[in-house]
């Protein structure tokens, strides 16, 4: 079931909310929690009921293993400690084995086939939704149990921690330390109209980002990446337009999903961690990874980078660890060389960034221009857009064609349709000017052949870039209006019910209506992160 579907918004969510709060009011809290877990399983099973078995198996085994580790840790003897360690390792291997089997088997077969010339058949396994997310959450829990960071938890809390539907399928990768303490507080499960209101606000903003922005721009990125993957050539203008369109599609898709997840969590009184914080406003790649998929970055830092040694063993080792961590991050996103290259490229960017930071301390005057915020943001954004090409292209050759065109390796060209449009606008001089700079018109009829590209695509890219770079995100909006305060997002009832709150509610209602209208008239699309 998708958050942006009518069955979710009109039926599933209202029913679960009403039933959950009714249970919480008229029955012991454990019934409400049980109902929420059950609803989450229904939500998950809606897609493919058979994979519910996998989720439940993973849930039971990991809880059992964590309890075993906890018990072994309490004994304090070397033998028990060793046993606890091996239980943890066994658990991690089991989890990684499971995700490896479903996600990477065909990739491995393909690679071996290509290397050895063999022709081993693919398993064609369907990737269980959310497996990358619930596996990482449980791996973190197991490791932290071994480290003695987690305390004993009820099975129901554990189940809710893993299955809670707002975060089950595409994150955020919730760390137990951010939600388990909330479950321990009975007030979390108490009906609170303020939570429901703010949750609805954030959910609506997320829905609008997905339905109105991300899905609109996807029409302009898909044909260009489709063409390069089919082996067709594209002009420089088309390649940049496609790459920018995809960068914005992914941004608003993921940002929208993250908002919806946080909003839904809030409706149920649960604060999920922030996963997305206007990443295109980053002034460097280090900051980008603190703002993009923040919970994955935190996971990779805590469970890959630091265990590898982090920055404790010198600069070279640090760079090595950074590269390995980002390669793992790339592989986490998908089983394919393009994802690995994307991860590697970001590893390279991070190494350059750290290297530059070290070097710039010694070269202050040269670096001044890069300390000018807009320049830093621009360079970071371009680097990210170039890397997205590998992330989006389905074939290595397709990514190559895109990058060749974007970088103008074979000359800068623009599509014939642009010439037609410029001629219609009477901008003959502009064409001559472009020609004088060596920009040529591609003789091939372009993908961007319709006027839609110029009347809708280009303005839409402009609007979305403006929103991404200059508008506050949903949580910023709430903070700036003082509606939520502090790290725990304490809701100010007076602001919520005051003029500002009422204006926001009215505007949210209108935006929600437009989103609903769009949902009802356009093809439902999955969130891009469902594939990971």
């Amino acid at each position: 079931m998708l958050f942006n579907s009518i069955e979710f918004i009109a039926f599933f969510l209202p029913f679960v909310l009403v039933a959950y709060f009714a249970l919480q009011k008229y029955a012991p809290v454990k019934f409400a929690i049980g109902f929420l877990v059950f609803s989450s399983l229904v939500f998950y099973g809606w897609w493919k009921p058979v994979y519910l078995l996998l989720l439940i198996f993973s849930l039971l085994v990991n809880f059992f293993l964590s309890q075993t580790i906890l018990n072994l840790n309490q004994r304090q003897t070397d033998r028990h400690k060793a046993l606890a360690k091996w239980t943890m390792i066994g658990g991690v291997v089991l989890n990684l084995g499971l995700i490896g089997y479903f996600k990477y088997t065909d990739f491995l077969i393909d690679t071996l086939n290509q290397l050895s010339g063999a022709n081993v058949g693919f398993l064609d396994l369907i990737l269980p939704l959310g497996i990358s997310f619930f596996t990482f959450q449980q791996v973190a829990y197991l490791v932290d149990t071994y480290r003695g960071i987690t305390t004993e938890h009820r099975f129901s809390y554990y189940c809710l921690f893993v299955t809670f539907f707002p975060q089950l399928i595409a994150g955020p990768i919730v760390h137990h330390s951010s939600v388990m303490p909330q479950f321990e507080r009975e007030s979390t499960f108490r009906f609170d109209i303020n939570n429901l209101s703010v949750g609805l606000f954030i959910f609506s903003i997320g829905l609008a980002k997905k339905v109105l922005l991300a899905d609109s721009i996807s029409d302009f990125s898909t044909p260009i990446f489709g063409a390069v993957d089919r082996g067709e050539s594209v002009t420089t203008v088309e390649a940049w337009a496609g790459a920018l369109a995809y960068s914005l599609q992914l941004y608003f898709d993921f940002s929208g999903y993250s908002d919806m997840a946080i909003g839904l969590g809030m409706m149920f009184g649960i604060r999920l961690p922030v996963n997305f914080n206007s990443p295109y406003k980053s002034i460097n790649i280090i900051e980008f990874w603190r703002r993009w998929h923040m919970t994955l970055s935190q996971f990779l830092r805590d469970y890959v980078y630091i265990p590898l040694g982090g920055n404790r063993k010198g600069t070279l080792s640090r760079y090595n660890n950074l590269m390995i961590t980002m390669l793992v991050g790339g592989l986490w996103h998908g089983a394919g060389w393009n994802f690995i290259i994307w991860g590697g490229l970001h590893g390279f960017y991070l190494i350059c960034n750290h290297g530059w930071q070290n070097a710039s301390k010694k070269l202050p005057t040269v670096c001044n221009v890069f300390r000018f915020r807009p320049v830093s943001i621009f360079i970071t954004f371009i680097a990210v857009v170039l890397a997205w090409v590998f992330f989006r292209a389905e074939t290595f050759s397709g990514a190559g064609v895109m990058l060749t065109a974007m970088l103008g390796v074979e000359g800068v060209s623009f599509p014939v349709a642009l010439e037609v449009t410029l001629n219609q606008m009477g901008k003959h001089d502009l064409i001559s000017l472009l020609n004088s700079f060596g920009v040529v018109i591609s003789p091939d009829p372009s993908i961007i052949r319709t006027k839609d590209w110029f009347s809708s695509g280009v303005p839409l890219i402009g609007v979305l870039l403006f929103v991404a770079f200059f508008m506050p995100n949903s949580l910023d909006m709430l903070r700036k209006s003082n509606l939520i305060q502090g790290p725990d997002w304490i809701i100010s009832g007076s602001v919520l019910n005051g003029t500002k709150g009422r204006a926001m509610a009215l505007a949210t209602g209108v935006v929600f209506f437009v989103s609903l209208m769009t949902m009802m008239t356009t093809k439902q699309s999955e969130f891009l992160y469902f594939n990971f």
Partner: protein
């Protein structure tokens, strides 16, 4: 609770504004529909002026640029009208459009494009946009629930188009095809093969086969809509109906059996309605060299080929022979 009250008010406000704007602007002629409207007006004039009994080809642009009414007129000896406009109009609206012009004794040949049979029974997006801009009375003839359904399923893009039609009028828009190239029989004659266009040729070259499996699964919806309209027309006038297949590019993939299934269903439907079918699907599937700019638009060579084939088939029909004699006697 106040937040929710205002949220719901916002929701309601959105709905009221949406509905009011659309109801206010229905009938505001938008520039996006001007080419269609002009074509439509010319065709209506031709239908009014052409004497009966006559042959009228109904369909989308596959008829506009696929049937040579001039050639058929010549070969069959019966006044023939090309009433092909646009396949974006659903079957119901296409049938509605000929209703007021039919006279007793006319022969109507259905040559709807394959895609028309896929349409759901409710208004297609193309019809809705056109009707809201150019045919207010048709929109208001619909039951209120259907009107509301159309208004609330319009989508923001459609909403903006309607708004733009009112706010930015008189924008000079490029017509897809020049209307002055429509001849006195209603044929669009822009499709000359002696004026090749690289972009159009590339489109044809890259064109792949249609999915007939999908068409077979969905054609019942289109046929059901058509059945109702046939009954409406039969109640009104003494007209004869014939059906034929549209012109499209032939692909060897069509031999996978799905096209045969389509034909079986198609012929079964028209047989039950007592409507003869002219030719078979493959009779009007031609190589790419006969096409102009889409898989449904023939160039002038293709039009000639198809029109001759249609004329031969028409002449085998007893009623057409009677019409032919009638016009022969009249002229002598």
């Amino acid at each position: 609770m106040r937040f929710f009250t205002f949220f719901l008010s916002g929701l309601l406000l959105g709905a009221v504004v949406w509905m009011s704007v659309i109801y206010t602007l229905i009938g505001t002629p938008g520039d996006s529909s001007i080419g269609l409207h002009e074509t439509f007006s010319i065709k209506k004039d031709i239908l009014t002026e052409t004497p009966s009994p006559r042959i009228i080809f109904v369909g989308g642009s596959g008829v506009l640029m696929g049937v040579g009414a001039d050639i058929i007129n010549e070969l069959v000896g019966v006044p023939t009208v090309n009433f092909g406009i646009w396949a974006g109009f659903d079957l119901v609206y296409q049938m509605h459009n000929i209703k007021e012009f039919l006279r007793d004794g006319d022969v109507v040949v259905f040559s709807f494009e394959y895609t028309n049979y896929d349409y759901p029974t409710r208004m297609s997006e193309g019809t809705r946009q056109y009707v809201m801009q150019r045919d207010e009375s048709y929109f208001l003839e619909q039951p209120v629930m259907e009107q509301l359904n159309q208004i609330f399923t319009l989508g923001p893009e459609g909403f903006y188009k309607i708004l733009a039609a009112a706010l930015v009028p008189n924008v000079e828009v490029e017509r897809a095809y020049p209307i002055e190239k429509i001849n006195e029989f209603g044929d669009q004659t822009v499709n000359r093969v002696d004026k090749p266009d690289a972009l159009k040729q590339r489109i044809i070259k890259n064109r792949g086969p249609d999915n007939f499996s999908h068409k077979v699964d969905n054609m019942d919806r289109g046929l059901t809509a058509l059945a109702d309209q046939i009954e409406v027309l039969r109640d009104k006038k003494e007209v004869k109906f014939l059906a034929t297949y549209p012109n499209t590019i032939y692909f060897k993939e069509y031999e996978d059996g799905h096209l045969n299934q389509f034909e079986d269903k198609f012929e079964d439907f028209f047989e039950k309605k007592d409507i003869p079918v002219l030719g078979a699907a493959r009779d009007f599937m031609y190589p790419k060299k006969y096409f102009y700019d889409t898989a449904y638009h023939l160039n002038n060579l293709g039009v000639e080929k198809r029109s001759k084939a249609l004329a031969e088939l028409l002449l085998k029909d007893g009623d057409i022979q009677k019409m032919r004699k009638y016009w022969k006697n009249r002229s002598s």
